[in-house]
């Protein structure tokens, strides 16, 4: 047993409590809102091609969110969750990784999938839960997943992916893979027991996992000052004995820098890292939510001024890597493509009735096969009551 802990600290003879806020946590900022870099700031590894790819992903995300909120209002899809104002976290995160790294996200990180090239068709098929959806139309909109792109399918129960990410990363390490796992979660989800379990497991077992907290100030209606009293989520990384950094989550260069360094450290040292990205959820929690019930327009306005997209754009313009003509053309093209993709996806049939019982197990067991057989007979008897599947039952 290692009992060093009892020997290390200075010994005192008058009771002295450590203040709960005594750990001071600096925040990394590289890019200013006007597009200039802070003096002395060290840039991440980035070149023109990479920067353009990142910026196009940000634009794609904006356009997609805008259109799909509209589609939900029109009743074309049942539900949507946007990431307005915090897109830099998911896109910058993916941009700092390698393609073979696993991403285990919460739900507001479609940006990582955009960066990795998930096609517009794939996004649409999932949201319209049609038969071409990789998830076979089983989950609510935005619960994406792609084995090919190393993006674990989203699960609604919060925090469950956090200890899983520790295990996934441990497996990657044991098999000698040049890969890490990046795990996203909100500051709300960080209250779950699974968060604490996951961090400790990763720290004790030296799993090369990057815990990436998107601290966007709210968990539905609950502001972060009713979520925790300590120094954010970063202080917990320190508490579990892991390397930790807090960054400006709306600063794409800070996100990229932190993830690049975290990845190198996780691989070389075979240890977990914690990143806390400070941001703000500018939109509603989801299309089922109305933030006017719990916060003011003025508060939101303040954060519009920290928009990560316009911040990166200003930097790109200053680098001469982007211009206004490209900007206009890109958004026009995006809007056109997205609208067209909506129209295609909504016409694609819903999954066949067989998909109801597949994938519960690796094979359909006998009892489920029987249930399917009698369901089919029932649907044939009442075809008008089951319009999605009736036409295709043999």
């Amino acid at each position: 047993m290692n009992t060093d802990i009892y020997k290390e600290g200075p010994v005192v003879h008058n009771a002295a409590f450590i203040d709960g806020h005594s750990v001071e946590i600096p925040i990394l900022k590289i890019l200013q809102q006007d597009g200039t870099v802070y003096q002395g700031a060290e840039l991440p590894k980035i070149n023109e091609e990479h920067a353009v790819k990142i910026y196009k992903a940000l634009a794609f995300h904006r356009a997609l969110d805008e259109r799909m909120i509209g589609a939900q209002r029109q009743g074309r899809i049942s539900f949507y969750m946007a990431a307005l104002g915090e897109e830099a976290a998911s896109i910058g995160g993916a941009a700092g990784l390698e393609a073979q790294d696993m991403i285990m996200a919460q739900y507001r990180e479609q940006g990582a999938l955009i960066y990795r090239g998930f096609s517009l068709e794939n996004f649409m098929n999932q949201m319209f839960s049609n038969e071409k959806d990789l998830g076979k139309g089983r989950q609510m909109p935005i619960h994406y997943g792609s084995n090919e792109l190393n993006y674990m399918t989203i699960s609604s129960p919060l925090g469950t992916q956090i200890p899983q990410a520790a295990g996934y990363a441990y497996g990657q390490k044991l098999q000698g893979k040049d890969a890490v796992t990046l795990c996203y979660f909100g500051e709300g989800a960080a209250s779950e027991g699974d968060f604490h379990a996951g961090l400790n497991m990763a720290a004790v077992h030296n799993a090369p996992v990057i815990f990436f907290c998107r601290n966007n100030g709210y968990a539905i209606s609950t502001p972060s000052d009713e979520q925790y009293v300590g120094n954010g989520i970063a202080s917990r990384g320190v508490g579990y004995g892991m390397k930790t950094i807090r960054i400006d989550g709306n600063d794409i260069l800070a996100v990229l820098k932190a993830v690049q360094l975290a990845r190198a450290y996780a691989i070389e040292e075979s240890k977990p890292v914690m990143i806390e990205a400070m941001s703000y959820r500018l939109g509603a929690h989801s299309t089922s939510d109305d933030p006017s019930g719990y916060r003011t327009k003025e508060e939101e306005e303040k954060w519009h001024a920290h928009d990560p997209l316009s911040r990166m754009k200003s930097w790109m313009l200053a680098q001469n890597w982007w211009d206004e003509a490209q900007e206009t053309a890109l958004f026009e093209q995006l809007r056109e493509d997205i609208l067209a993709a909506v129209k295609v996806a909504e016409k694609i049939a819903k999954p066949p009735v067989e998909d109801l019982v597949s994938d519960v197990y690796d094979q359909v067991p006998e009892h489920l096969q029987k249930q399917l057989t009698s369901l089919k007979a029932h649907i044939k008897k009442y075809p008008e009551a089951y319009p999605l599947t009736a036409g295709r039952i043999k």
């Binding site: 049942s78 539900f79 839960s129 049609n130 139309g137 089983r138 989950q139 609510m140 619960h143 699960s155 609604s156 129960p157 919060l158 925090g159 709300g188 989800a189 209250s191 779950e192 027991g193 699974d194 968990a219 539905i220 209606s221 609950t222 009713e226 979520q227 925790y228 089922s288 939510d289 019930g293 719990y294 819903k350 999954p351 009735v353 998909d355 109801l356 019982v357 519960v360 009892h367 489920l368 249930q371 399917l372 369901l375 029932h378 649907i379 008897k381 009442y382 009551a385 089951y386 999605l388 599947t389």
Partner: protein, 325 residues
């Protein structure tokens, strides 16, 4: 009497409980200022203050553990779990703690004041994790009571009884009916009995049994059967645990047939428990095998929700099967 929807009836019951008992507290995720994601606790923080109605951190095991502590101390916690699908992080606190507090201590301590409210059930395009009906997991746990109302009147009376009952109660609220179900509800205080089923319609050919939102489904099926000249007796179980064997058995002794319908999947659902008990109680009086009309044995799907669900047509077919056996 006032017209209330199911949410208003629940809000009204909580208001009464908090007004009469200073130690009654309402808490959970987004429950405070916002009044809960469904607005069941709307206005309670304004009325009773932040100390008695509040947001908790996002941690179900914490919510129920905290509630267990409060109940043991003598307060009256009314904890909300935002969706029944998210009750599982608190499974240990409920199954190993709430349910066993009294027994393990020889009644030195108990958490009888605890009430857990949680919206359950499907039919709202909620997919896997906003649709489940997990009552059977808890029904396997001696020490808990489980209550499910079918309409606003029932919700108010049963919730008040649950809060005042001296045992931990899980109160499952049919969220599909939150706004859809509207009815006459007395404004004053009243209670409905826990552990008592209710015959909601007399009939002679077959007994149809359900609870919560599934009551609507069997009512619709009974209407269809009526046109075929089949007379259905309808029972709302209301309390899953401990359940009212007598009311169900007496009805089956009369009709000779039983159909149980639940939203949850078939295998090891609470319908199975009822079927086993009733075949024992009524064996010689049964004219046909007991029918269970349940969800298919899969997770709750999004786009094939209709196919998965135990709808009125499936119930209707099962009624005919039973009659023509």
């Amino acid at each position: 009497m006032a017209q209330m929807n199911l949410l208003q009836a629940i809000n009204n019951a909580l208001d009464i409980a908090m007004a009469e008992n200073d130690s009654a507290l309402c808490f959970g995720e987004d429950v405070g200022h916002f009044g809960g994601v469904f607005r069941a606790t709307s206005g309670l923080q304004e009325k009773y203050g932040k100390a008695r109605c509040f947001n908790t951190p996002l941690v179900e095991q914490g919510i129920i553990g905290f509630a267990n502590g409060l109940a043991a101390q003598g307060s009256t916690p009314i904890a909300e779990i935002q969706f029944a699908d998210y009750i599982f992080p608190a499974f240990d606190q409920i199954v190993n703690e709430s349910a066993k507090f009294r027994y393990r201590s020889g009644n030195e301590f108990n958490v009888g004041n605890l009430t857990i409210r949680t919206p359950y059930g499907g039919g709202i395009a909620g997919g896997l994790y906003h649709s489940q009906s997990p009552e059977a997991y808890f029904a396997h746990t001696p020490g808990l009571k489980i209550v499910v109302p079918r309409n606003p009147y029932q919700a108010k009376g049963l919730l008040l009884a649950s809060i005042r009952d001296d045992n931990p109660v899980i109160f499952f609220e049919p969220k599909r009916l939150y706004r859809a179900s509207v009815g006459e509800v007395p404004e004053e205080d009243y209670q409905l009995p826990i552990g008592k089923a209710e015959v909601t319609e007399q009939g002679s050919d077959i007994t149809l049994l359900a609870w919560g939102a599934q009551m609507e489904i069997i009512e619709k099926a009974a209407e269809m059967a009526k046109k075929d000249g089949i007379s259905c007796e309808l029972i709302d179980l209301r309390t899953i645990l401990p359940w009212d064997v007598d009311t169900v058995a007496n009805s089956v002794l009369k009709t000779g047939r039983l159909l149980i319908s639940q939203e949850a999947p078939l295998t090891a659902g609470f319908a199975s428990e009822i079927a086993a008990t009733i075949q024992q109680e009524c064996f010689l009086h049964l004219e046909s095998p007991i029918e269970r009309v349940c969800g298919i044995d899969t997770p709750y799907p999004l786009s094939l929700e209709k196919e998965h669900a135990a709808d009125h047509l499936k119930v209707y077919e099962a009624i005919k099967r039973s009659i023509n056996y």
